[in-house]
Symmetry: D2
Subunit: 415 residues, 4 copies
């Protein structure tokens, strides 16, 4: 039998860390002995556990320690991390450590160093003076850069559950299609107001269906009210928004009149052509070609727009970053200082953001497809709220709440 002693500290029972650790051990057919346990007597107290883990092979033990470490367990007799140089540009050394989306620390020369820009599925590069560490993607690495390998000397600090038990962000919870949404939307509105008051930053990630469903007016209003600092989307939303501003249609469907009569699938092509001719969105706004809509509001309010391209784009319009790697880099830079992300109807962009967002950011994810909501919120331990609903009425109600925070939420009961 091979064994090792690990320690757990913090709200390990309340945040489900201890049970998860024991569960991992048992699921792998390994054994444990709790050498010592001190459970916090009151809810603000921290707890402590020392556990001897044993497995039948050294390999199983090593793999298990890797898992336990991701739950915040640390192996006693802590050693320094092991390091190795990158063998080539864009290539990590064998057996490099793959990060989670939790805050991570590495021990170098007996001292713990926090890993900057924690991000899922990255490696950890250590600076030449070994005083700092940061998470890196393949494209960040150059031959000879020093990278953490193996499992030793690494400590993960899981996000602990919010102690404010009135916040909807203490959970990782989803309001399903069959549940009432008004109260949750009101809480999202309150959170956005708090963020604005404290000069925090809100990112909207959205897909083209936002415009198709007629929700463009609401997002335009949200931007004008100052609740959006950044917008990540693709060529599609921009094109349909401009089509709507120029022709009143979205993919040929008239947004105001009867949705059942189609008119003019060419409109979006002519919209693209006009923006290309003008030289871009900013230019089209300056030349008063585009005088309303989401893009117009973004230009007016100085919202930072990131448009990333995809292989299904028509056009695209100028300003779209067609290279996926380049777009990833731009998005990552603009994710560092966020407070809240609102994801609406875009699997592609939302997954890209979920891959790079720091663990501290709060996430609200809205989609009519329950599978999309489940995929996007599943990566977060806490701080993620999902709503399975139609984007248009969601945004309408959210905007009403933000414009008239004192009014009751429902137009019906107000009368």
């Amino acid at each position: 039998m091979f064994s090792e002693t690990v320690e757990l500290r913090g709200h390990i029972i309340d945040s489900l860390i201890l049970p998860k650790v024991l569960d991992e051990i048992l699921t792998r057919g390994a054994g444990f002995k709790i050498a010592e346990i001190k459970v916090g007597q009151n809810r603000v107290d921290q707890s402590y556990a020392r556990i001897e883990v044993s497995a039948s092979s050294e390999e199983t033990l090593a793999e298990m320690l890797l898992r336990l470490r991701q739950h915040g367990a640390e192996v006693i007799e802590r050693a320094d991390v092991q390091l190795a140089p990158a063998p080539a540009d864009g290539v990590f050394p064998e057996n490099f450590y793959v990060t989670t989306n939790q805050q991570t620390f590495v021990q170098i020369a007996g001292k713990e160093v926090s890993v900057e820009s924690p991000m899922i599925d990255s490696a950890i590069a250590v600076s030449a003076d070994k005083r700092s560490a940061r998470s890196v993607k393949f494209y960040d690495i150059h031959e000879g850069d020093i990278v953490v390998v193996g499992q030793q000397g690494i400590r993960v600090e899981p996000v602990q559950r919010d102690t404010d038990r009135t916040s909807i962000f203490q959970f990782n919870a989803t309001v399903s299609a069959e549940m009432p949404k008004t109260a949750t939307i009101r809480e999202v509105a309150r959170e956005m107001q708090r963020v604005r008051q404290r000069k925090g930053k809100i990112l909207v990630v959205a897909g083209p269906s936002l415009v198709h469903t007629g929700a463009g007016d609401h997002l335009e209003k949200l931007i004008s009210l100052g609740f959006v600092q950044r917008l990540f989307t693709g060529n599609g939303l921009a094109v349909y928004d401009i089509e709507s501003a120029l022709y009143g249609t979205s993919l040929g469907v008239n947004l105001k009149g009867g949705a059942l009569v189609e008119a003019g699938h060419e409109n979006h092509m002519h919209a693209i052509n006009r923006i290309r001719q003008a030289g871009g969105i900013q230019a089209a706004v300056d030349q008063k070609i585009v005088t309303r809509g989401i893009m117009h509001a973004c230009v007016r309010q100085g919202v930072d727009i990131v448009l990333s391209g995809s292989i299904r784009d028509d056009g695209p319009i100028p300003g779209v970053t067609t290279d996926a790697l380049e777009a990833q880099r731009i998005m990552r830079d603009k994710l560092r200082d966020l407070t809240l992300v609102l994801m609406m109807g875009s699997m592609l962009h939302s997954l890209a953001v979920a891959n790079m967002v720091p663990p501290s950011v709060k996430i609200v994810c809205v989609d009519i497809d329950p599978r999309a909501v489940a995929r996007l919120t599943s990566r977060q331990t806490f701080r993620a709220v999902g709503l399975v609903t139609d984007i248009e009425p969601f945004l309408r109600e959210l905007t009403q709440q933000l414009e008239h925070p004192d009014a009751t939420s429902s137009g019906v009961s107000a009368s």
Copy 2:
């Protein structure tokens, strides 16, 4: 080769009848020759076609004529229908004719008789004096009753497309999750106002998710405004509505406060007990136990409620018809004089209604699941509008439109 000549009359091109007929023939590997065709020169004109159909076997020809007849084709040299007595109570004679949900005529002694209460998947019983015919279910039939058998002497008149090309009911169309719904909801509201003005009857068919999503207030308002004459639902909606009236929760979820905290799954059981103790819904309203909600509004407004039971019911409360056949009979009686049906979030009750509704009734079907909408609207040729959306915001917007028909639809743009 076996062949037969059929005739088509009416808006056979505009209503897609001629193409469907030719399609049926070709799909079955049969042949046709168009002996004569007169296409209406203008849109109000009717068209006419005479087609010789031929097939390799008599059986194929007979089956094809059966199909063609459902598209309105009639076989020339029309004969009287064939009749046979029912061999036992609840049993039709061999080879009985199975109806569609189109208006049907049978020729008896050289004269055409219209079939009363046309309904899908029924037989046709002829009165003893052979002057009238009506569609019958298995449970309607007694030994010796005279029933139509075979295919001969039967003429079907498909619903022709509405000539009012501004009506959303001229189509069988669905507004998908990715399309704007505001304009369609406005048209539904207008139609409901027209129906109310003309003293027509509106049926609401709803499931329990209507209450869970917090839309109960909106339906209560709709009833109070006089837009609902009948309500078909089950024990569940009634129980959750009364739970909401008594305790403010629905299946233990607080409808006004945070949806994310559950409280009291027992509430619906205590609600059932109180209604059983009181003796029923009407009694509970009279005794002022229930003073608000959908059921309360129905009692006050004299809305005709049909509660049908199912095997997943708790309780049930008094007034629920637990026998499925008895419930079918009650519903069928209350479907005869309807103008419009609004189906929301109930596959079970909606399919039961779709099975029995006369072809002239307009249908609006709302569900967040696109498959439910597709199944419910697929049986109608025209006059069915589907919306894939969340019920709560749909009903909120519909109710606002009906209360304030002059206001713009969006609370946002109204400000």
Copy 3:
């Protein structure tokens, strides 16, 4: 402040009971102090915790104790249960205790009595001699019957997690559409073989889509191999199965030939008529009218069939219980001695079963709609396996595994 002391015993950390209890307390804004905790040193050891719970009102405290009791907490200084007579037939006394689907014990005259037939959403009736107790539905109760009221003297024993960590039933887990299913199907097959060896009983709950998708052959085979002891379904599956046996179609779709050509929606009506004429399924098999299919196999193998009616039925055929309450009673009787339930493509029947199934039964739930799987497995703590997949290939692979347990699962790799 109002406070009370509760105790927890068993695998309270491994089975997540302690964390859930603390979570309930914190979520309700109450406080706790852990007076004593003994964590099992090894995985077979039980743990123990004594916790002082405090709340700001007596009401909150009482409600919280109710919740904690459902997680297995018991209040120290245990008292006898409180009892009250039923005020009328079918009516429980005020404040009756509502059961969960966990094993429950009540203390009467200082002695603990186990509640027979534990079932969710029931009351507890105590025998006249107060020596036994059983869970009762509204229709079971008569005026004067003694019923448990309030929260005191009740102990709940949650299902503890299976200690066999190789079993798929130790979890409440769902294999989503995007995950591999072969290994899980193999485990389900192994479990079914174990059940058959030990003379356990397997119930199949199925809906009509099983026949529509062409999976009827597989279920017929499963029955012939002796893997099904009971079948709960509705009129629909029986009718389409018999339509398939008589005409080779299901709702008019040819099951063997091209699925894209429709033929004969009347077939199911003629099938119903023939069974009504014959006098029922058994009679139709005896008279050699029905010589193949699921119903035929059930009659041959002596499988206990429960057919319950619904308001969307055509017919129905003889043998269908059209009264929902009567059908509930029949199903409940046949659920007592089950080992495993296989639910496929029937929300209605599966929910009815999930409402009444004892906590010890293992559940396998298969549906192509992830929401259906989620609803059906969510009520179980452990022992439920969900698969989001097509029923036809699932049943094909399961049947192959059961026929040829040694063969590799995939026809491709076998070659």
Copy 4:
């Protein structure tokens, strides 16, 4: 009133062209008069109609003619197309004609010229000598290139319905989750065999879920059997396939063992690193690092792989085209000579292909999400078959059919 005369030719009734044309006219509130109609007497005969269309404004008339032209109507007194030079690189002239995905002809100097590489949402560029025309995307166009503008002189030839009425590709049909699929899969297999015999080319478009569900083995087999000439996918499928080849897992889920235990989300990162180190997929196969799987089979069989990047990629591995425009160009080139496309579980890549595929190509689209299938097949008039099912069992059955075409489709009934 403004009016114009249009002509329709071909199987205009059988292919639903005449009804669609009349429908367009009526829906827009315009009028028509059928000046002449000759309906083909037999199924091989073509039909002809001459229709006078009238509208209240010149604008409405012009727009209507545009629509009618897309249904194949041609305006009598045909004129030459109007041409204008592109004002800048990547910008079309004002009012450029936007193509559909139908075969299109333009009249230049009185002669009709066929537009090469017909593709939806493009412009038409005319060669300098005005003898040829081709469809162009924005990025194809340079300042001064001659482009078709307006609506005049353009004729569209809609795909006419296949006269082989036994082919599943005569329809645009979808086999829903509730329908039998075996017969359709058999027909797809037969079509693939015909294509292989005639040296046609089959393209597979697939997403990563194909590997996650354990269907990689089947696709590998399909490639080895010579049924795949091209594979369009992204970084994800390639990475998970190589992870599976190297470690036996897919996104950390063990494909052969129990799907319910997760192991090693790092595996896909280490897989990426090894391919980057090796220098690419071909190199990794040459160096015997990758010795099995889809990518390995592609390299061995000389299948043309197009890997296009997206913003959610990890890595990517060498060979992925990260620029979306560049990837579009590569895909377009490889779509010209296809016979059949099999789309499985990839919305992004499938939509990109659907945007560029020539109208003659047959499409089979498989997804467990009915909305994905609906979106992908909706653009095709005919020749598209959708199946709403799980990819793994679909591919298993298809591969079995292709390996053993004489065997019955079901392993169960074969025994």
